[in-house]
Structure formats: C-alpha cells, structure tokens
Symmetry: C2
Subunit: 371 residues, 2 copies
C-alpha cells in the first residue's frame, strides 16, 4: 500500500495532451477578439453615463444591447483564459503566463464592476418591492395602500403610520438608487478609460497572439493535463470540506444573520470561505471544459451547475446586504428609511443563508453521484 492515491487519470479513457489546452486557449482568444470587434462596431465606446432604460441588460460601457452582450463575452473569455493559465501553469511558458494573468484579471474586474452595481441595485429594488408589497421602482411614487391587509378600512392613526413606513421603503429605494447609480457611473467611466488605455491594447495584442499560437512549455508530460485538472478539483473539494455544510444543511439555522447588527460595513467574514469556493468551482469548471470540450455534446454535471449558481446568488446577496447596511450609515436619513434598510439587510442575509442551503443540497447530490 505504498501508493496512497492511485490516480485514475494516469490512464485516461481518452488520451488528452497539451494540444487540448492549446486548442481551448486559442478558441477562447478567438472569442475574445470577436467580442472586442463586435463591441467596437456596436458603439461600445460611445461613452456617456448609462441610461436608465438599459438597466437590467447587464451591460458594461453600453450603447446597444449588442455591445452589452459583447462586453459580457469579453469578460467571459478573459476569465476562462486567466483561469486556465492558473490551473495549467506548469504546461505553459512561465514568463508569458505570469505577465498575462494579472492583466486579464484587471480587465475582467474592471469590465465587470458596472454590471455588478447595476445588478445589485436591481436586486435591492426588487427585494424592497417584494417586502413592501408596493412598487418602489425609481420614478414612481410608492402609493400607500388604501385598504389594510385585513381588508377593512383603517383607523386614521394607523393610516398615518402606514404612509410613514411606505415612505420609508420608497426613500430607502431612492437612497440606494442614488448611491449605486453613482458607483455604477464611476465604474462606467473607469471601464471606458480602461478600454481606451494602452494597457488594454497591450492585453488585446497578447490575446491576438494567443489566438494563433499558444506558448506551451517544452517537454510537459502527456498526463500532466489530467493531473493538473485533478489538482484543481481537489482544491475545490478541500475548500468545500472546510465549509460548515452540516449547519448549512439545516434549514433556518439563522447562521447568516449572526452578527447582522455587528457594525462591520464590509461583507461578513463568514462569507469569505464561500466566495473562495465559488472561485475554485469556476476554475474546476474551466478545467473540465479544457478536458471535455465546451460544445453541446460535452458532459455537464447539472448539480455542479446548480451549486455554482447558488454560490453566485450567495455572493450577490452578500454584497447587496452590505450595500443596504452601508446606505444605513448615510448621515441625516430618517428613521423610517433606516428601518426599511434594516429589514432589507436582514432579508438579503437570509438570501445568503438560503443560498448556502441550496449549495449544500446540490453538492450532496453531486458527491453522491460522483464516481
């Protein structure tokens, strides 16, 4: 029993060599260039603050819907190239790889920020709407309900209290709208500047080279691809094993809102390990794509997909909760606004908890099904 970890990937059913990695990287680079061309053609760099009418389209540096899609495709390719450089580093020219990675990370980070603020605002406004049972979307005045939930007319006093709180939800919405739109506008400008910068042009040139030739390291062993993919999976498995999954699997464990009134404005430290798993799951998925392809015929583990989506929701809710808490620190807000933001914060923290539960369920099914 000297060999403790007999590695099944030493004898893959279908031999996969460095060619698979090169092919994958070339394809992603080509996608990147296509997205960049489309983005330029569709007026992506026309500038100006994002119009509200485009909200929800998910767009960076937007003009038309096509340019929004193009920007998303840019980020998508950049993430995959960057992730593959990380996982399969020993197979690639080290100098080139070390230089390329941080530039791609900068690019997808910069391009993603505007969309992130936009999605966060939308999530928070939808939650406010759900919580108050009234439209609090910007531009509309929240109309106080004429009749109580009980169905009957109310005492005048109750009606006065009611409109005060309805105003609270509307004011909270307006405050979040103001703050997140400002952040989004700034992110928009930053992204515009980035796309016009010499730094960006240098990345684009490197990706253009990558589309024709992938700088593989000399003499990498044939089996290394599988071994490295397996290592990425093990990093994921280890990180998941360190998560409090037993707690997460108990519905309504009330864990996510512990310290909900603790005054740390940044996302909860307890969220960190989950964010980390989210990134490792993504790397694992990209490595899987390298080995098995990205086409419709490629095998997809739906449970792993569900798990990944749960972690995306976890991240989004975590950041939305932090944004609500942050907004509550704005000077001179009314108590009604602050109350609404408190309810909203707790609501989003429960979304965090719900996402962990969903992840736990999906992961459990995934591992039960694993070979």
């Amino acid at each position: 029993m000297a060999q403790r970890h007999p590695d099944p990937t030493d004898t893959p059913a279908v031999p996969v060599t460095g060619d698979a990695l090169a092919g994958y990287l070339r394809a992603r680079a080509t996608e990147f260039l296509r997205a960049l061309r489309l983005h330029r053609e569709t007026g992506g760099q026309s500038g100006g603050a994002p119009a509200r009418a485009r909200a929800g389209a998910g767009g960076v540096v937007g003009g038309t819907e096509e340019s929004v899609d193009a920007a998303r495709a840019l980020r998508r390719s950049a993430r995959r190239i960057s992730g593959s450089l990380h996982t399969f580093r020993p197979l690639l020219d080290p100098d080139w790889s070390e230089e390329m990675r941080p530039e791609l990370a900068w690019l997808s980070g910069t391009l993603g920020l505007e969309h992130a603020y936009e999605a966060r605002l939308e999530r928070l406004l939808l939650a406010l709407q759900r919580l108050s049972g009234a439209a609090v979307l910007p531009g509309r005045t929240a109309a106080p309900a004429a009749v109580g939930p009980g169905g009957g007319p109310d005492r005048p006093a109750a009606t006065a209290e009611r409109s005060a709180l309805t105003v609270g939800a509307a004011k909270a919405g307006a405050l979040l709208e103001r703050q997140l739109t400002l952040a989004r506008t700034r992110a928009h400008s930053t992204a515009l500047q980035a796309l016009g910068s010499s730094r960006f042009h240098a990345v684009a040139d490197k990706v253009a080279l990558l589309a024709s030739e992938v700088p593989l390291a000399p003499a990498a062993p044939t089996t290394a691809l599988h071994t490295l993919a397996r290592a990425a999976e093990e990093r994921l498995t280890d990180a998941v094993a360190a998560l409090p999954l037993v707690t997460a699997g108990h519905p309504y464990n009330a864990e996510a809102l512990v310290h909900g009134l603790s005054p740390e404005p940044s996302p909860h430290p307890q969220d960190g390990p989950w964010h980390q798993v989210r990134l490792l799951l993504r790397l694992h998925r990209y490595a899987h794509e390298v080995l098995h392809g990205t086409g419709t015929a490629a095998p997809v583990d739906l449970r792993l997909l569900t798990a990944g989506q749960a972690l995306n929701r976890h991240r989004d809710a975590s950041e939305a909760a932090a944004a609500a808490a942050q907004a509550a620190r704005t000077p001179r807000i009314t108590p009604a606004t602050a109350y609404a933001l408190g309810v909203l914060h707790a609501d989003q923290r429960h979304e965090v908890e719900a996402s962990r539960f969903t992840f736990q369920q999906a992961w459990q099914k995934h591992t039960a099904n694993a070979p």
Copy 2:
C-alpha cells in the same frame, strides 16, 4: 356504500362515557382550586410592580417563584376547563356552560398577559444579543468589540461606524425594554385587580362547585364523547388542510417576510390561520386528555407535541416581530435604533417562517403515522 364515514369510535376499544368528561373536569377544577390556594399562600396578591430580578420566571402577579408557578397552573386549568366546555358542549348543561366559558377565557387571558409581555421582551433581547454579538441586556452598556470580525485592528473610521451601530442595537434594546416593561406593569396591575374582583370570586365559586359536581346534560348518548372529540380533530384537520403547507415545506420560501415593510402595525394577516390552528390543536389535545387521561401512562403523540410547540413559537415570533415594528414607530428615535429594529423585525419574521417549516415537517410525520 351508504355510510361514507364508518366511524371507528362507534365501537371504542374501551367504552368511555360522560363519566370520563366529568372526571376530567373535576380533576381540572381541583387543580384550579389548589393553584389558587397556593397562589394566595405564596403572596401572589402582595402587589407592586414586578421586579426585574424575577424576569424570565414567567410569572403573573408575582412574588415568589411558587406564586408564579401557581399563576401558571391557574391559567393551565382554566384553559382546559374552558376548552372542554367548548368541545363537549352538547354533553353539558347549556346555560351553565354558556355562562362559564367567557369568564374562564377572560381569566386566563388576563392572567396570561403579563407573562406574554415578559417572554416577548426576553425573546427580543436575546435576538438582539445574537444579532449584534454583544450583550445588550438591560443595565449593561453594550461594549463595542475592540477587534474586528476579521481579527485585525480596524481603521479609525470603521471603528466610529461600528460604535454607532452597536449603540443602535443597545438603544433598540433599551427602547423595547421600556415599552414592554410598561405594558407588562400595566398587565400586572390589571391581573391584580382581576384577582381581587367580585367577577373573579364568582368564577372561583363556580369552579369550586365544578370540583364536586359536573352539570352534565341529561340523556347524552354514550358514544357522544368520542364523536365530539373526533369532531374537534376534524376541525383541526380541516384548518391544517387550508394552510399553505406546500410553501411552508420549502425551506427559505421567503413567505413570512413578504410585506415585511408593509406598514400594518398589527401582526401579519397571513399569520391568522396559523394562530387558529394553534388553538384547534390545543382543543384537540385537551379532548385527547379527556378520552385517554393525563397521567404518564397516557399515550402522547410526540409529533403532535412538536407541531404544537412550533405553533407556539410561531405566535411568539409573530408578536415579537410586531413589537419591533411598533417600537420603530416611536417618535424621535435615531436612524441607528430604527435600523436595528428593522433587522430585528425581519429576524423574527424569519422565525415565523422557520416555525411554519417545523410545523409542516411534524404534521407530515404525524399524518404519515396516523391510523
């Protein structure tokens, strides 16, 4: 198939007659009188505002712990007599029964209020403590944590924000303490007055008579006891069937916080059917006690017990959430206080949702096991 509901209780394994009801009522009446005597002996009517030191003991009109227990026993017996009069009404003298029921309801309601306010305050302070990770119990100043959740020292700005919010939780706790203690003191006075009133003495006299002789209706059929108990169970089953149990069985359905920002200060109307089931479940349990006895040998359905406890928690959390929302309407509170109350409200609404989930699970197991 003319007989659609073949009633198994028509041929009970052990024949139970009106005697069982009379015995049950006599026993409860005796308990009532014993509790009343104990309550008087232990200084229950010594008066004065409840001292904080007794908080958590659950007591009405308290002095010693014994008098608190005695008051609880009084309520317990009154509820059981009242419930049995309701369920088995056709077996009892109608005039006597009609006169007795509202008086017992008045008594247990009046005696229960002080305890309810006390328990509500304790629930809310514990929740605040859990949410803020700091002691916010009255009399203590909430100490701002010296070190951030991340473990490292913080920027001065973050520390300033932090103490602001810790103060928010502490202020929210102090506000709730003030409001609920006032309500409790009033309930205490009301209970004291009630226990000294001629109305109470009239009830006590009636219960004393009941302890020796139960006014049964003449010529009630032997099988009626089982039939009436079955009818109480059917009322429960029908009410449960009308609950949104499918939704409740999905963890994190986010149903309880819908309209969490709707401005109705009273408990959510969606809670009503659950409260109703809680009462029907209690009546069913009392009817079961009449038929099968109350001793340690009596069969107890643990799942039904769990279901009942879940509904108690549902009621408590619902009322605590309403108290937090009500406190947020206090004029001139700070935004930090209002924010903390908003988080607290949402937290308790999630307790409501969690209780429904627990009930759904217990009820499902109960019915799966039913004959």
